[in-house]
Amino acid sequence: MNYVFHILIMINIYIILSVSTNLLVGMANLLSLGQAAFYGIGAYVTAYALIGLGLPLLPTLLLAMGVTAIFSFLLAYISLKLEGDYFILATLGFQIIIFTILYNWIDVTRGPYGIPGIPSPKLFGLVKIEGITGYIILSTILSAITIFVFYKIINSPFGRALKGMRDDEIAMISLGKNITVLKVEAFVLSSAFVAIAGFIYASYISYIDPTSFNLDEAIFILTAILIGGTGNIKGPVIGAVFVVLLPEILRFVGMPDNLAANMRMIIYGLTLIILMRYRPQGIAGEYKFSK
């Protein structure tokens, strides 16, 4: 049963990652290769807040979201002046720089040794989130909140403005919308919620190291939402479930472990290529990357 619960917690983490990344990729047409960096910043801030400051749950979560939002505002300020490939490059650069700092600034981040022994957070100083049952409740609540918030955002005037901008920037400018502000808002919102996933991951696994937040992870997050599809809520959710479940399915089919790790990546890659050719909106998405 613990095994099923663990999978469900990982699915919740990836649902949060993909639903919030969708706001950038599917709603604002900003393909970001830097999402794993924000995931990592959220996780590291959580680790410091829980170990160093001994903060309870909600302040830790808010701190992680706040610090990540500040970083994402900085990146947005720099990168949103750029367009298309150059924007992707700037986010890629950010990803590499953050990873290098996490990996090499050993005095502060302990580098490749990682941060072990992250304690469980306490809710209102009373209830301690403990054991796998505690985390399944916590992660389900947080992913439900994330889905709810982004559902509301997508169907709000702000969401419609983003869609408008994605489909025709010039038309939106002529309607008097400030597209730079729209993009910055989407960027900061998306990254702040990515930090929630970092929070759950750090406190649940209770050990973090930089390799969980490298470029491969950023590509993996992107793969999840591109397979599921972007532009709505169900696409990213399906994508997250797919990428987390596939390795488990391969294990049940009886694929040996040493092949399974590579095989699943090959399946992701093939799925991406085939989807991009025949169904760019993914399994259940809405946006076809038409621009």
Binding site: G93, I97, N104, I219, M263, M265, I266, G269, F289, S290
Partner: protein, 289 residues
Amino acid sequence: MFIQFLINGLITGSIYALVSLGFALVYNTTRIFHIAYAILYMIAPYFLMTFLIKLQISPILSILIAISLTIIVSLATELFVYAPLVKKKSSPNVLMISSIGVMIIAINLVALCYGNETKIINPSLSDSYKIGNIIITYNQIIQFITSSVFIGLFMVFLKFSKFGIMTRAMRDDTELCKVFSMNVPGFRLVLFAISGLFAAIGGILTAWDFGMDPYVGMPMLLNAIVALIIGGIGKFQAPVIGGLVLGVLQALSVLVFSANWKDAIAFSVLVLFLLFRPQGFIGEKRRLV
């Protein structure tokens, strides 16, 4: 010390220049953000290892076979992945995502066949020459001469041959090339072949010295892209200048900080260039906004 690092930087930079030139050849003409280019650099030394060590074929022949196979992989990427998408008029993002897909598949196929660990092609230590205080290895000399020769030849062909004129025409206006009845899909194959050639040579030269694992492609691709941007997009001399500058900069950053910070420094330079001099050293001014 300083001069030693400078020379090491120039030699590494010459390989960056060659690999970056291959990337630029595709990017400047087709506007594809060719991430799968990383795997050509990685896969060439694996082909070489298969023929040289497993099948015991003579070195020269093995190198030629390895390079040809890499070119075939490059052509296959264009034929089976990019060309159909271009025909469908897919957006640049779709092409880039498919390219990521190709990269993921190839890296994991190689990892499946050869394993994740670092492989060595040439186990012996390279001879070195001492000039004053400066030590240069035999491999470094080969690296510098080979990449310089190929870059030089390419520049001559770019300037004086029909191929060069067509390449520059593609860079300036692909639609107009079609109007003048140029066979654009066919010529793209030529470009992909040459870019595969450059990646293969860069990959083999580096792997001969340091060995390779399935993940060497991405860091090199990132260096090639940084070299291209700081040189300037649009001109073919740019990646060469950018590559040499980046090589020297990284070597000096090793001298000042430590080797661990190389990537962060390269990308900090990239971000500074994107912000303050997006046209790079010699690129044409263009609006990025």
